[in-house]
Structure formats: C-alpha cells, structure tokens
Subunit: 262 residues, 2 copies
C-alpha cells in the first residue's frame, strides 16, 4: 500500500526534514505532535498539518505514524499510543523495532542515515534509508515509501542498524568534534577556521574514491614521534586535547602495525 | 622576483602534486631529487626534470629549491646543501623555518595546507598556502609564487604554522581515522561502507556554513547515556574502539557542559 495520510510524532531535526520531503512528495500530513507548542506550530507551518501537544489528541484516521523523537522517549510514547492495526515506525538508529509492539500490531523502522539540521535542507534522494518491518507486508510497504524519497533503500535488521549507528557516531559526530578541536587550536594561534575548509572537504571527498584505510596519513601513521612530541608540547596547557591526541595517535600506530603483521 | 628554474627535493605526495601544478604554470623544474631511483624517475616523467639520487649532483643553476621530504629528514638535507644566496624553502607544517638557515642565506616556508595523494589530482587554486620568509623580499617573492598557484596565500609564522598543523591532524588525519573505525564497525554487521558516504560528505559540508560548534550532534552531546551504554556494549569485543568511544564521548560531554556554564 501507499501511505498518503501521515501523523508525525516529534518536531526535531529529523521530523522537520521528513515533513519537508513528505510534503514535497504530495503526502498529506494530518497532524504533527510535539510537547512544545512552539515546535508543533513551527512544523505545522511547514507542513500544513494540525499541531497537537497531547498524545490523546492524535487522530486514528492516518495510515502511517512516524515517531521521530529522542531515543529515550520512544518507548514511553509507544506505550501511550493505541493504533490497533495502523502502521507505526520510528526513525532511530539505536532503538529496537520491537519497542513499538505495544502501540500497534504493525510496526517498523524508517531510519534515514544522515545528519539533519532544521534549517539546512539537503537532497533526500541520496540518503540511505534503513528499513525494517514487523512482517513482509510492512517491509514491502516501507520500501515503497522509501523509494519515493530516496534512491538508496536497504533492508537492515535492528542489530545491523545499531552497528550502523555506532559507525555513524564515529564517522560524523566524532569527526565533527575533531573539526571543533581543530577550530579551537587555531584560535590559540589567531588563525581563522576557514583555513581548514578545503582540507576537511578533501578528506571527506577521498572516501568516495578510496577506503579510508588507504587515505590515512599523518605523523601517527608514519611513526613520526618527533613531530608528535612537538604537537604534544604545544598542547601542554590543554590537557583534554593532549590526552585525546595521545589516545587517537596511539590507536592509529597500533592499528597500522597490527595490519602490517597480518 | 619570479621563480622559473626550480629544483624539487623529495618525490612524495606533496612534491608530486607541486611538480604537477608548477609544470602546469609553465615553470621549469630542472631536477628532482629522491634517494630512491624509482621515485626520482617517476617524478621526472611527470615534470620533465632530470632525476638525481645524490645531493652532490644538485645543480646550482636554479633560483628556487623546494625541500619536500618527511619532517625528520629536512634538517639533515639542509645541512648537506650549500646554496649560497639561492632561495630554499620547505613545505612542512611542523618544521621551523630557521632549520634551513644552514643551506642558504635566503630561506622560507611554502606550506600548502591540504592532504595530497600521488594519484588523485586536486584543484590547487583553493588550497591555502602558508608563507614565511627569512626577510621581507623573500616573503614577497614567495607570495608572488603562491598567488600564481592559489587564491588563498597567507603570511604565517612558524609558531602559527605549528598550531595549524596540529589542527590539521585533528581535522583531517583523525577524522579519516574515525571513518576507518566506522568502516570496521560496519564490517561486523556485514554492511557496505558506502552507506556512510552521504553522511560523511554532509558532515564535512556543514562546516562551510556553520562553525563545528553549532553542528555537533549525537548521544554524547545530548547526554544520552542509555544510547552510549548500548554502543559500548556492542563494542565489548573491541577494547580499543570501546576506549576511544568512551574518551571522545567524555570529552564532548565535558566540553559542552563547560560551554553552558560559561
């Protein structure tokens, strides 16, 4: 089946970007739920949906319910919903599908693997969408919906999804934090952060051509302890940065020496 | 002055990409030096320069000598060169300019801030080039050369350059290692690494719009200890990954709580 009447539960970054793309694809969003009146109103203005701030006001007239709230709140919300045989999905990387079984007999996962921003709109068609369904029909219906939004739709189990989410924490959250540490270090030298932009873009771009194993460079890979010591000396007044520099460098050195010995 | 006759000392990634752009800009590379015959030949074939494998064979007829070798070797090579008043520069982020003072009375630094690959050619015009000169004339001559290659040429002191290099290690080497860890975690789940490509590209792309402070997301930022514990449980069999996950998450949590209390 094709879903045309949707209720969005949540009004954060993922919900906002989902609302945009669903409206663009001619879907009707009946309601948006958020505990915060302001967030509900905001998302309502994008999607044309009725804003609701109480779970009890959620309509039973939709054919798809998308729960897109912080991981911790999914279970609580699922327990408050009674959707009978209407399909309910969540959009989380780390929450097991079966958490939704209290809300309906039909449930699934619709996890778009991307870092979202409320304001910065991105092309949805490239985003991998990880699908899981409580039965084959649900799975197939969610694949149909996924393909309306993206070229890259994949069947992914709850366990695989959890690994994907951990990998994403490293590849995205932790990378961004590395940029942030870089930005602070430049402040010590009164150099503008924009000097790093071409380097950051090229580093990310390389992985589309080569596995990151082949793109690794730097003093830790080369075993250049003299340069690493210079860097550590400069970070003397910044113990947390110094520690993380040491820890990651040590891991890089041991990782590549293990690979050589294989 | 404009430099037209150049000797390249070194045949690694930086030297190779410099050779390409210099030839493209109609510069004559007289010689390329590498201790390895193969590397010297390889770079000679790109640049049309004479390959030499002995320092004593380096000509005195050039007007610029670019030392582009591993950091540790720069001092040794500078001690072996006697270039009188010919300009000699190195391309390193971490080596002080004055290391070159034994080779000539005119010396400087020409540090292109980018991650280079021997094979993947990149547009040089966007690369920030950090310039330092032993005197104002050298500085101004190097700026002229820099501007022939790139739109972004900056005067940067040895101390600033060292900070820039540390920042680059975080923003590029360490980010790439985060991608690599992500790739390995996906292997545990039998998921192809290409699933992370749109996420990695978008994470890098965000910094051109926002400071990375504003782009930080993820369980550690949210203080979502339940999700972090799930991730750590999944990494149980991989102690190094588990440690680095813990260390970086702890730093993110403490960093953002300090910012809030400011």
């Amino acid at each position: 089946m094709s879903f045309n009447k949707i209720v969005l539960i949540g009004a954060g970054r993922v919900a906002t970007q989902l609302a945009r793309i669903l409206v663009e694809k001619q879907k009707t969003i009946l309601q948006v739920f958020s505990r915060s009146d302001e967030s509900a109103q905001q998302l309502s203005s994008i999607s044309g949906a009725e804003p609701v701030t109480k779970i009890s006001l959620i309509t039973l007239n939709a054919d798809l319910y998308i729960i897109s709230v912080v991981d911790d709140a999914i279970e609580t919300i699922a327990k408050q919903l009674t959707l009978e045989n209407k399909l309910v999905v969540h959009t989380s990387g780390s929450v097991q599908m079966k958490t939704l079984s209290t809300a309906s007999s039909k449930f699934g996962v619709f996890y778009p693997l991307q870092t979202f921003d409320k304001k910065k709109n991105i092309s949805f068609s490239e985003i991998p969408i990880c699908i899981e369904g409580s039965d084959k029909q649900v799975e197939s219906d969610l694949i149909t919906l996924g393909k309306e939004l993206s070229k890259d739709v994949r069947i992914i189990s709850s366990e695989q999804r959890l690994y994907i989410h951990i990998a994403a924490v490293f590849a995205s959250n932790f990378s961004n934090f590395m940029y942030l540490i870089g930005a602070e270090i430049l402040e010590y030298a009164d150099v503008d952060f924009n000097i790093l932009a071409p380097l950051i873009k090229e580093t990310a771009d390389k992985i589309t051509k080569n596995h990151p194993y082949l793109s690794q460079t730097g003093p830790a890979l080369r075993g250049d302890f003299k340069t690493m010591q210079k860097h550590l000396d400069m970070l003397e007044g910044h113990p947390e940065k110094k520690d993380i520099y040491k820890n990651i460098s040590k891991f890089i050195t041991s990782y590549f020496s293990q690979q050589k010995n294989k």
